[in-house]
Symmetry: C2
Subunit: 357 residues, 2 copies
């Protein structure tokens, strides 16, 4: 158990690192942020920071020696960086969680191996295997790079008449998977945490609306039956246990309704705090950021009790210019990330609204 | 209105400065902390800090030029420092609020001039005037230095048989006031804010328990009649208006019950966020720290709606060693200040407990 005053190392200087550092501060823990040069709003709220590349092994090692445990705000930590850090300090979530979730094929194989449903998928390594995959899964289907995708980046929808070789080249001629389309009723996610002691705690299932592949809005609780909500949380629990996971994990799922019955299809795992958990900052006894800090610090998990109906709206790009109106709305809790520049598609902040029940 | 990304300068690096900086960060505002060398936990969560003495005019001026507005976490800002800062940037609360509240005699004269009741008091400038004051106000009565008192420091109770000259010398033979004892039922406080536009918003009146002159526990709402609660808030409103105040102000009052009627006696003003407002961090729509930042940034004040019955318990000195048990209590919200060393009488953190109503 890290004592107050101890330092947690965080890879990544964006808004998730920033909100982790703010949560750690409330508990008397210090943060040291490691990130490459650029706009790193997490630096502004952390006791220390190091500007370094993720392949600068000397800088990574020096950073690790100055902290007691390492975590990160994104899953694309280079394997070599994780190895360097892991040789010096505990890294949570660990290398296995990273390896599993960095690669869409490995992730889906892992989920399926537990008997949990995913969208149908086929590995695609070249234009020829893409043609066979499309023949198997039909159109429309979605071609995704196995690595480094987020917010709709690294994916393309294959429709009738698509030039398959052209689509594959447009994604960089790299290893991909083709996913069959799931006719879902809505998208939901389970944000949960597993402690170092194996304890597990999930927040209520929430539902998510995306616009242009970017999360626009989350509402908690999600509209789904109690039994399906329990099943969703059970899926997250099994995934976390199977990874011997430590920290906050998010599991995105499709809610499918067939002949009146609800079914869950796992879409994606995120081995970190997640945008669909931002409502917990104002709508739950413990926020996902505090919970992640508690888990990686070896503290007991906090209560995930929801305190009302919650709605989180992302402020993307120019939407952040609405801050004046939001600041004047007595029902809104404004969170701005301190980014230096508004850019299209960039997450600049979010707003939580909580209705006590 | 400061825009997100702007920098607020804060004098003082203790827990109040730290919690102000954390609140500012959530709104996308940066903080620059100015404090003399020492244990300054606010440095760990601020974008910038300057180590400087409060009489280092060059350092103060350089600091002021790097921020857009200046505020502080305590009232004992030297007049000269306030003047240097004020010549370069807006300072909130302003020099008048500082001058009024830095000196117990000036403060009490100010409160009385508004027709608001205080404890009986007499100025004491030497042992002779102390004897006359004690003759007028009786024993027990309390001798307090006019300046620089807090948490019971700079005061002494005059009982029967006291060596008056000795007591005066023990307080440093400096200008004092003698206060008559108020036979109060309980101590309450109003924490409120006045915006740059003159808007006023108070949180519910809370009641305070002190142990060894240090605040131990605050409960909101206070046990008092609705009419008296409204009167308490009206007193704070009048005081804030009379000072053309900008920021959070705390007004400590005694609740006196005589023949079944409640009466309020103002004990002390604090021109800043206040320990008795810490419950607002988890128990109100807007915390006192966010509200102070909003006020000094020229933003609209946030909602002061209370979300439940709140209890704040200070962690003083060794009480902070209970952090493990508190962290494991699902009903507790732990706040630790990141101070390097536990010392007797030192405020190390606090715990909020909120019962939804």
């Amino acid at each position: 158990m890290l004592e107050p005053g101890a330092t947690i190392g965080i890879l990544g200087g964006g808004q998730l690192g920033r909100m982790l550092a703010l949560a750690a501060a409330r508990l008397g823990l210090k943060c040291h942020i490691y990130a490459p040069a650029g706009d790193n709003p997490a630096f502004d709220v952390a006791a220390r920071h190091t500007v370094g590349a993720y392949d600068d092994e000397a800088a990574l090692a020096a950073f690790a020696r100055e902290v007691e445990v390492v975590t990160y705000e994104f899953e694309n930590v280079p394997a070599r960086a994780a190895a360097v850090l892991g040789s010096l300090r505990p890294v949570y979530p660990d290398a296995r969680a990273l390896e599993t979730t960095q690669d869409r094929l490995v992730e889906k194989d892992f989920v399926r191996a537990l008997g949990i449903e995913t969208a149908p998928y086929v590995a695609v390594d070249d234009a020829g295997s893409l043609a066979r995959a499309v023949a198997a899964l039909g159109r429309p289907s979605i071609l995704k790079t196995r690595r480094f995708g987020y917010d709709g980046k690294g994916q393309a929808t294959i429709r009738g008449g698509a030039d398959l070789g052209g689509v594959f080249r447009a994604l960089g001629s790299q290893p991909c998977i083709l996913e069959g389309l799931v006719p879902f009723r809505r998208e939901v996610s389970v944000v949960a945490a597993r402690g170092a002691d194996g304890a597990f705690a999930a927040w209520d299932v929430c539902e998510n609306e995306h616009e242009q592949h970017i999360l626009a809005r989350t509402v908690a609780p999600a509209r789904l039956s109690e039994a399906t909500a329990a099943a969703a949380i059970e899926i997250a629990h099994r995934l976390a246990d199977a990874l011997a996971y430590v920290g906050v994990i998010a599991v995105e799922m499709f809610l499918v309704e067939e002949r009146g019955a609800e079914r869950l299809v796992v879409n994606e795992l995120a081995p970190r705090v997640h945008n669909s958990g931002h409502w917990t900052m104002d709508g739950a006894a413990t926020s996902q950021f505090e919970q992640h800090i508690r888990a990686v610090a070896g503290w007991p998990l906090g209560s995930t009790r929801r305190i009302g109906r919650c709605e989180m709206t992302n402020l993307i790009g120019e939407q952040a210019a609405q801050w004046r109106e939001i600041a004047a709305d007595p029902g809104a809790r404004l969170h701005l990330y301190g980014k230096a520049e508004i850019r299209a598609g960039r997450k600049m902040g979010h707003v939580n609204r909580v209705e006590l029940e």
